[in-house]
Symmetry: C2
Subunit: 428 residues, 2 copies
């Protein structure tokens, strides 16, 4: 069989499984998730052995030790992955929630009810734990999942999916609800992107280039995630010490993630009080500053280019500019930002209100680090990604964001006429 | 300038206007809508004269009288269009609604707030009143709108948009927020479909071929609307008289709309009691029955082909099949349906519950006509279309469906550390 045929087979199985899974209530779904968690722990040695093949291949390819650490699974890490699955089982089931409902004036009982999306495709890079996390979130929300991980974790992902499918075989959830997309070539990802009618939504998780290529090429609806060029704007009326503390936290607490700060904007009126301290604190924390000419007046910086202000560094680098007003900061964010998270530090209620109103991003933070834009921090219990688009879901996506809704209306022979509703046995 | 340049100009104007419009509170938006309504009435003669050109052209092209009636504007119809705008002004503003909100355990105040989508593109056919309806709904929800109507209503649409823009010029809403897409060729619609980054969402309103071509060709996110192959399933346990009444209402009350019934499925156990009466009632109401072999046993029918079961007739035709079980009815709907509205007629609570659970459509009706799937009937006050997709919006779309959300979190120097939240002035 060709790769295209292989893909069609697993996608069709997923769609069929989705129809069985969708109407299941919470208990059998939670039981299936616990069976998966138990199987992961019980078969930990098999998973770690498969992972060792990926790690050996990565070493052969000269992969950095940091990347190898991200790739590696140990029994303790498998246990943590299983524990995360149990935590998903403990979360409330979004399916069946009545989102809105009323009895209409004509007596029809109307309800809008959460239902699964159907088949969710996930294209992701790097760490094999995403394979299990994503599958658990999809199953809990009643969706089948097509997983397309990176070729560097192929052996690990194959083992993890095998263990999950075999665990499901003993449960009410069909094993076909979890599928690894066959093939490791770019072409195999394209099958997923073009499977309109078989796949209901595609969620790319990874770097900007992965996400852009999926958005460009997919005919399946895509939820864009995770590209974060996050800004910290220090207003004229900021508490200087608080601003320094928030800046350092947003930039350095975990520089490799999408909610880390990448650009600092400083109001001209506070530049003299703030920038010397900020530049010193950044230097102390090992951050390279790419500053514009006005920033250079306050310390040694690498001259910032246009690209620096567009960059999602994901490293200990930051672009810094001085702006003349809050409006100029907003205009800068609009031009260069990615619509993820932008923060203002200010004591002024008016400035905070204006910044929140004008900045069109998934999240806006006031006197808080950008690092809080996260499903776990928001109390969702788990997160499938952070949407930076405006349709369907925006910001951290938890279980409800993996659902659609269905309208149900119940009457007793309700008919619509040009003069209003007539109810049987009256003739309309 | 080329058509592409013309398009870029109006789309850029719309995007700039959207940024001004988005933060406006309700009062200036409602005032702008009332100014539009007043201007439409005041300049009714000018609008009717422009419409007369379209009507004359349509007659020259041999357009049917029914289509010409749909196209025609009279002073009374312009008044009705203006009244609809005033009704939109009276609706609550979805923007600013706090959808969710809490104080997190660390003290951060978290709110998810409705915000406009930005720039909405509408591609539509037929009646010029859609030009004003769509613009009013977009403005009320804080969005700029790019309108791409049919070439047959070009003169009417040009006049309507001119009147709306001139009315807006006297208000807080920028005139650039309402734009007619230049050009009447297919190419001009394609500019709209490919304006990723300038247009946030595209809503096609019209027949299946229009919608399919937009879905296929657009790189802008699309909300599919309005294709309805709606089913009425008469269960074994139905009240025969109620089933006939609902069938006739769903099929004949307004056959040209997307929530009219196109297929009747009859449980084998009730076929003998139901079908003779149903076929007689359909014949009496001028409906042509396209029946399968089992239906033909109960009366004269046109033999149904596979295409009949896929068809959205929008006419006094109906496809009819006998099925052996509720599950077979569900399988038929899954195979041939469009996911719009499907109804069951039954006295059985278990059958109703099972049908509602298994049918994966935007709306499921129990003992009620499919004709109730409508924003007006659901109490939305107005409707921009009926979504038959699962992402973002499903079923009738009112004002909230024309919005996205933004997360806002407010702290007092909140920083995230590996040990939890630290609040300034403590050092993280």
């Amino acid at each position: 069989m060709s790769e295209a045929d292989d893909f069609l087979k697993v996608a069709t199985e997923a769609k069929e499984a989705a129809a069985v899974l969708a109407p299941l209530p919470r208990a059998p779904k939670d039981a299936a998730l616990r069976a998966i968690a138990d199987a992961l722990v019980a078969r930990s040695a098999e998973i770690v052995a498969a992972n060792a093949e990926d790690v050996a291949q990565a070493r052969e390819n000269g992969t950095s030790e940091a990347m190898i650490d991200r790739l590696s699974l140990t029994p303790a890490r498998v246990e943590a992955v299983a524990e995360a699955v149990r935590q998903v089982a403990d979360l409330p089931d979004p399916v069946g929630e009545v989102v809105r409902g009323s009895t209409l004036p004509n007596g029809l009982e109307l309800r809008q009810i959460r239902v699964p999306l159907g088949v969710v495709g996930i294209i992701y890079e790097g760490r094999p734990n995403v394979t299990v996390d994503a599958a658990a979130l999809c199953l809990k929300s009643g969706n089948a999942v097509l997983l397309r991980g990176s070729s560097s974790a192929r052996s690990s992902n194959t083992a993890l999916v095998r263990v999950m499918k075999e665990a499901l075989a003993e449960t009410a959830v069909p094993a076909g609800a979890v599928q690894l997309v066959p093939g490791v070539t770019r072409e195999s990802a394209k099958h997923l992107m073009r499977a309109r009618g078989l796949v209901d939504v595609l969620i790319p998780r990874g770097g900007a280039s992965l996400i852009n290529s999926v958005v460009e090429e997919s005919t399946v609806p895509v939820i864009e995630t995770g590209v974060g060029n996050c800004h910290v704007y220090v207003d004229a009326d900021a508490d200087v010490e608080m601003a320094v503390a928030i800046l350092i936290n947003a930039k350095t607490q975990r520089p490799s993630v999408c909610n880390a700060a990448e650009t600092l904007l400083v109001h001209a009126d506070i530049a003299e009080a703030f920038l010397p301290r900020a530049l010193a604190a950044l230097a102390e924390n090992g951050v390279t500053v790419h500053g514009d000419a006005r920033v250079a007046a306050y310390g040694e910086v690498v001259p910032a280019t246009e690209e620096d202000f567009f960059a999602e560094y994901l490293s200990l680098d930051i672009a810094v500019a001085v702006v003349d007003s809050l409006e100029d900061a907003v205009a800068h964010i609009k031009k260069y930002g990615s619509g993820h998270t932008d923060a203002i530090v200010t004591r002024s209620q008016a400035a905070a209100r204006r910044f929140v109103s004008l900045v069109d991003s998934a999240a806006v933070a006031v006197n808080a680090s950008t690092r809080f834009t996260d499903g776990g921090e928001f109390g969702f219990g788990a997160e499938i990604g952070i949407s930076t688009q405006k349709l369907h879901a925006r910001g951290p996506m938890g279980l409800p964001e993996l659902t659609s809704t269905k309208w149900v209306y119940t009457g007793e022979g309700h008919m619509r006429t040009s003069d209003g509703t007539v109810v049987f046995p009256a003739t309309p």
